[in-house]
Amino acid sequence: MKEFLGGRIMKKHLTLLLMAASLFVGFISTSFSVSAQEEDTQQLNFAISVDPDGLDPQRTVAASSFQVTNNIYDTLVKVTPAGEYVPGLVESWEVSEDGLTITFKLVEGISFHNEAPFNAEAVVASFDRLKDDASPRGLDYANITSYEAISEYEVEFVTEELDVELVSSFAYPWAAIVEASVGDDLKNNPVGTGAYKLQEWVPQQRLVLEAYDGAMVTAQIPVVNFVTIPDASARVLAFQSGEVDIMGISGDQVSLFEAAEGFKIVESQSNALQLMAMNLENEYLSNPLVRHAMNLAVNKDVLIESIWYGYGNKIGSHYPPILKGHVDHSEAYAYNLEEAKALLAEAGYPDGFTITMDLPSDYQAYVDAGQVIASDLAQIGITVETNIVEWAYWLEEVYTGRNYDLTVVGHTGRLDPFVLLARYDSESGENYFNYSNERVDEILRSVKQVQDEQERLDLYAEIQAILAEEVPALYIQSPVSLMIMDESLEGFEVYPLDIYEIKDVHYVN
């Protein structure tokens, strides 16, 4: 009898517990803000795999964040899909004769999303914040020693040393003009002058932007809904079912859409680079013959085909094909096993040796590429022990600590060849190859003062040739990135910076 009673009480408790819990859930969920689903052409559903790490362009280095913030903020200078610099938040700019001063004439009559006026003072305040200690890009602007508002709509920037590519530094998404008085609140409540303003952000779920009436150029689609879908297969399913209108895909996913209709794929040659870096402090890798042999032993065409499904352009030096001044070195060490074996024997290792390779687990393509390279190297007798490591470990031990033999990784592209190549300076903190070449050092330390563009490009070409010859890395490819979208979407352009201009995207019927 006692047990019967127990059962009844327990049941009652269970019911109460469930009721209380559902009430609780209901209560919490009603406290959320409301966002209604719009008509199809009024809203763009954009799938992303990871959330931005905040919406403050001056406090992040993540490409995934800039892809969103670029639509909320404007830069003084913009870059066209062809790589030309055009006015952004300015009417025009003027560079002084000595090249040390640049003066911007700002557009008038624009205000920020919070109605604060956009003027010279706002630009100065925004740059104060960009150059602040807490800003990860602050040191990139160390050469700008002073800047001031010379009238309500004119700002003057003065550099210490001549930087012929100065104008490019105002086009990067981190140089966007923010409403500085909002301070660190920008991370969650961004205030810019861009075509879109933030409507709602539920991290890891959705980030909704709505068109801003007071922008320089009005956005064509009123609402942009970034949906976070972490799983790649789930993203494909969401696109196929029509829940998503546009998203990035990888080469291997293209075949999943072959049977489907009503979409198009936009290919864009990025200016990023992917390579297998070598640590030149390693006793084997310090020998140029070994590096030559390793380059000859890897079949890059097969590698690109098998890992990236052919969506990439083979490279032979640290320079993307779409950047001005590119010289093609992709055939410098064309696949040749016999020659590779001969060189390895000449280097004193006829039987090969054993070496380690650290691969970042967050990037499946690099892990896979590393395994393919390892099997290629095995053919000439080099045994590669691969370690798959976490990104945080990779950054600390491999990249910053330079405690590795081989690794496969990618580098984001830059508008200015100097910034791209600066890591090969023997003194650079980013020179994780431990590479050192006197001529390269000499060029890197003087090239920014060379006024003549052709002369400068020749110097960059010289560095490209030296790197292609000395191969401190196995330069693999510059990837082609792919966007899939509803076929009625037009106006999506590809930029040399890793940004999206969603305001120009629209539906046609």
């Binding site: 047990e3 969920s29 959320f32 990860p136 789930a234 950054l395």
Partner: protein
């Protein structure tokens, strides 16, 4: 009784303290400097030093711990570096998703277990029992992400019965929200149901063998109603305890399903905090989940002793 409650409570506090210590110091020795992670491949030694200083990473560890635990006692778990908001707010945003998922899946698996466990017990040692036990084995060994992908492909993308992306929010209304989490909850329930069926089956077998079942027969009660009215009531105790423990476990164990179904729950928040070395967030979530699990088992224990006085306490 009061002594027992106080004793259990002190135990609970001690567990929390130990977990907080382990969480804090174990995470500190993990490789992966948050400053390096923020700056990525653009890091320079100068920018790293500046960032470390601005993040307070140069303070002594014990001081960092005391500050953190002191704030935690006032329900302030600090600020997430990655998302930029309060950790408590972020956890609060995720709770509805995770709690609903856990309740729904435990509820579904409990009901299924009650039905199939009883059938298996009543028809024990027959082909029905064997079939149920076989299916139980199969379903509990299928990985949930695979089952999740199958569900997404056939029930969501192809048929449109369920949404592919789990948009869970108040604006959508109760029905839409239930639709958003029903499929993931079902799939989680399939993984959970095996262990519960086994439990129900063995408790039922015991109950069916007991003397009062014979007396119901003597009194002329029909067998099905005797099973439901008497046997099930007494057999339900152990499965209920087990279900409450499963509920607690699901609290921190929903990451895989949340990832497959794009649900913004506690599990995915935890995953991101590890990937991004967002220490404040990670510590906060671990502490929170520990607190919930410890509290659930504390309350269950107390309730249990109240319901069933035969459980010996103390000593």
């Amino acid at each position: 009784m009061a002594v027992y409650i106080i004793k259990r409570f002190l135990q609970t506090v001690l567990i929390m303290l130990i977990v907080s210590l382990i969480t804090f110091f174990a995470l500190k020795v993990l490789p992966g400097d948050p400053a390096v992670l923020i700056l990525g491949t653009d890091a320079t030694p100068d920018s790293l030093a500046l960032l470390r200083e601005s993040m307070g990473l140069d303070e002594p560890l014990t001081l960092q711990y005391l500050n953190w635990i002191g704030d935690a006692l006032r329900f302030d778990l600090g600020e997430s570096r990655y998302f930029g908001g309060d950790v408590t707010t972020l956890i609060g945003q995720r709770l509805p998703v995770t709690i609903s998922l856990a309740i729904l899946s435990v509820g579904i698996s409990f009901i299924l277990a009650l039905i199939f466990g009883t059938i298996a017990a009543v028809y024990r040692q027959t082909w029905v029992d064997n079939l149920i036990r076989l299916l139980t084995q199969v379903f509990s060994s299928v990985p949930s992400f695979w089952l999740g992908m199958l569900g997404l492909t056939y029930l969501a993308a192809r048929n449109g019965w369920f949404p592919v992306t789990g948009n869970f929010s108040a604006s959508a209304g109760l029905l839409v929200n239930i639709r958003a989490i029903l499929l993931p909850a079902l799939i989680m329930a399939v993984g959970e149901v095996g262990i519960l069926i086994r439990q129900v089956r063995s408790s039922m077998i015991n109950a069916l063998r007991s003397e009062y079942m014979t007396s119901t027969e003597v009194k002329g009660l029909k067998r099905p109603s005797a099973i439901i009215k008497y046997a099930m009531r007494s057999a339900i105790m152990t499965p209920v305890t087990l279900a409450s423990l499963r509920f607690a476990a699901l609290f921190g164990g929903t990451a895989v399903i949340e990832t497959v179904f794009s649900l913004a729950g506690l599990g995915r928040l935890l995953v991101v905090s590890v990937e991004q070395r967002d220490m404040m967030l990670l510590q906060g979530i671990v502490l929170f989940i520990t607190a919930v699990v410890v509290m659930i088992s504390f309350v269950t224990d107390i309730l249990y002793t109240q319901i069933n006085k035969t459980i010996r306490i103390g000593g």
